[in-house]
């Protein structure tokens, strides 16, 4: 049985977007016991729709355990007999930490003349956009409050993995181990596209009312359902859906209409509806935006990075090139041109890949923790290749890193499943001896890292 705790932070918090929260609350759950030298603390970072409730039950008649209950608990991969586990609900969420559904202090003080506070309103769309970096900052502030100087490990899956990665970059001396599961160094254009579809479905719901639906007494339920349905499809795989639903019909025959006919439609609607009942639309918007913005390399690359082949040319040049191009292309066959285009794309991709690697290497240059990176073979939202980008950059910097690519059928959602190999790797990694005084070759050659 677990009980969440609320921590109030009275000091103002300046966010990456340059806006400031005058104060903020964090709702937190902990499992296990902190040892006397506070060296056994593990921080859990949650994913998009997650919360502080990672493990255990809130009450005796609680039907569902916390979202990562198969990972966290006595004798489990993150063993609460051994570790003190902390899970924080991120700001901007709708599960108890300061977010769009909490009262905006500005609205309380706005009507000084009247004694009544009926005008006080929730933040709603006025809640500032937060980033992964902001979340990590609030988690570090919480660490100070808890008296935890160094985390034994920071662990997260998907969006949580991004936070873990950001921790290692922003507070290199405050964590010993970093577990990044089913995550990515940054979102691809396709990832952002899916997020945009989800956001547009909410924004275009007539009940959204510019985000002030709570004041208006409406709720963009349909938009949120649709957003979750799109998201849900990307978290699963074709095979997993086929195995679960196939083309099974609810009534056994075609109805020739737009009601729910296939089992998979019924499932998606059910998931969407359940989600829309307890998730705030503004939170969904800002969390997907935080995903899009995530980029741990920001601020680590300056002019020393080789620039990409310029796609931005001034107009006169473009015109000139176009006319030259036209005359040249007239003498080539269509196949030749196509081939050249393909080659250009390939070389451009390779260039971009190299640039990404350089940027990540720069970001990871000062990290001091050991990493475990986990991907899942069927995850196409954040495919194994994305995890491998992280691994390659860490290896190129000579940092200690383990990588496993777990064969699992559940797509991106695999990180929530009890897969023995995956659980075993996390458990082994967390209990393995920590070799602090590694001096990798690359660091010796380029003494840029601030080692202590």
């Amino acid at each position: 049985m677990v009980t969440p705790q609320i921590f109030h932070f009275a000091e103002p918090l300046t966010l990456e977007c340059n806006r400031t929260l005058p104060s903020f609350d964090l709702i937190v759950e902990t499992y296990g016991t902190l040892n006397s030298d506070k060296s056994n603390a593990v921080l859990i970072c949650h994913a998009l729709s997650g919360s502080h409730h990672a493990a255990g039950f809130h009450s005796n008649d609680d039907k569902k355990a916390g979202w990562w209950d198969n990972m966290i608990g006595p004798n489990k991969a993150i063993d609460t007999n051994q570790f003190y586990v902390v899970c924080v609900n991120n700001i901007g969420s709708c599960f108890g930490s300061t977010g769009p559904t909490t009262i905006n202090p500005d609205s309380v003080h706005a009507d000084d003349d009247t004694s009544e506070h009926s005008e006080s309103q929730v933040y709603g769309p006025d809640f500032p956009l937060v980033t992964i970096k902001d979340w990590v900052k609030t988690q570090a502030i919480l660490s100070d409050r808890l008296g935890i100087d160094i985390w034994h490990a920071v662990v997260g899956g998907s969006m949580g993995g991004m936070q873990a990665l950001q921790w290692s970059v922003d507070y290199p001396d405050r964590l010993k181990r970093c577990v990044v599961i089913a995550s990515t160094p940054k979102l691809s254009a396709q990832n952002i596209a899916f997020n945009e579809v989800a956001r547009q479905s909410i924004l275009s719901d007539p009940d959204f009312k510019d985000g002030r639906y709570l004041q208006a007494g409406t709720y963009p339920r349909r938009g949120l359902i649709l957003a979750r349905m799109v998201g849900h499809i990307t978290y699963l795989t074709d095979d997993a859906m086929k195995a679960k639903f196939g083309r099974d019909l609810k009534s056994g025959k075609f109805m020739y209409g737009y009601d729910v006919e296939f089992q998979v439609e019924s499932y998606l609607r059910y998931q969407g509806e359940r989600f829309s009942e307890n998730f705030d639309a503004n939170t969904y918007l800002l969390m997907t935006k935080a995903l899009d913005y995530f980029d741990p390399t920001r601020g680590y690359l300056t002019s020393d990075c080789p620039s990409a082949p310029s796609t931005e040319t001034t107009e006169p040049v473009t015109e000139l090139e176009d006319s030259i191009g036209a005359s040249v292309e007239a003498s080539k066959t269509a196949t030749q041109i196509e081939l050249e285009d393909d080659l250009a794309v390939i070389s451009n991709n390779e260039h971009n890949r190299q640039q990404e690697l350089t940027a990540l290497k720069a970001a990871f240059a000062h990290t001091q923790c050991q990493y475990l990176v986990v991907s899942f073979t069927t995850d196409w939202r954040f495919a194994p290749e994305r995890s491998q980008e992280i691994v390659d950059a860490l290896m190129a910097t000579g940092k200690p890193v383990n990588y496993i690519n777990v064969d699992a059928p559940h797509g991106h959602d695999s990180f929530l499943f009890d897969i023995p190999r995956y659980m075993g790797a996390v458990k082994g990694f967390l209990t393995a001896p920590f070799i602090a005084d590694r001096q990798p070759k690359n660091n010796r050659q380029q003494p840029t890292g601030a080692r202590s």
Binding site: Q370, N405, G424, A425, A432, F434, P440, K441, N442
Partner: protein, 205 residues
């Protein structure tokens, strides 16, 4: 510790950066890390062995050696080690060159197919050899490119690979007697079942 591991250790400089291909449960890496202050990575595909290596506090990367070493930059390691995996990869010659691209030196061990027991097995019995160094039946063996010491050295010569050291040993207990050791030195290709080579692409100074 395994004989070939003991010898591999001798040729790996303290504090150096090592890549261990087919590192298994990381036995050699762990030893090098503890006793020689070595850093580095092990590549492995066996799931259980990877987890064992992770639990030892090593850096283990899941990777199929057949995918090559493209993810590693030129000369990013001091030494690449590959113990008894060369014979199991699809293109051992390509991998060998790739190893010498990412590191200055490579330490390679592999079973000798020309070992007298193997010759006897095939020559007299007419059966594919099964021995301590090659403990598989022909139909379930992961070893698809078996070679002899002579074959390996010919491959090295063809690609201008310089052999710095060579050591032939026998896995069996009999192989450790002084007499056997002397005999092995006389006729390694006949009497030794495992060889450890230390090779480089760079001209010796």
């Amino acid at each position: 510790m395994r004989m070939d591991h003991q010898l591999a250790e001798r040729w790996i400089a303290p504090q150096s950066h090592v890549l261990d291909l087919g590192c298994g449960n990381g036995e050699l890496l762990a030893h090098l890390q503890q006793h020689r202050g070595v850093t580095g990575y092990g590549l492995e595909i066996d799931e259980e062995k990877i987890n064992d290596g992770i639990a030892k506090g090593l850096s283990i990367i899941e990777q199929d050696l057949n995918d090559g070493l493209a993810r590693f930059a030129d000369n990013s390691f001091d030494t690449v080690v590959m113990a008894r995996a060369l014979q199991a990869v699809k293109a051992p010659d390509v991998l060998l060159l790739d190893m010498l691209r990412v590191a200055r030196e490579a330490v390679i061990t592999f079973p000798n197919f020309a070992h007298w027991q193997n010759r006897l097995h095939l020559g007299l019995k007419g059966l594919m050899p099964v021995s301590e160094a090659l403990p598989y039946e022909w139909y379930n063996t992961p070893n698809i490119h078996l070679c002899t010491f002579k074959d390996f050295e010919q491959l090295c010569a063809k690609h201008d690979i310089h052999i710095i050291n060579r050591f032939a040993v026998s896995d069996s207990e009999k192989g450790h007697t002084p007499l056997m050791k002397t005999l092995i030195r006389q006729a390694p290709n006949l009497l030794a079942d495992v060889a450890i080579y230390r090779v480089t692409k760079q001209k010796p100074e």
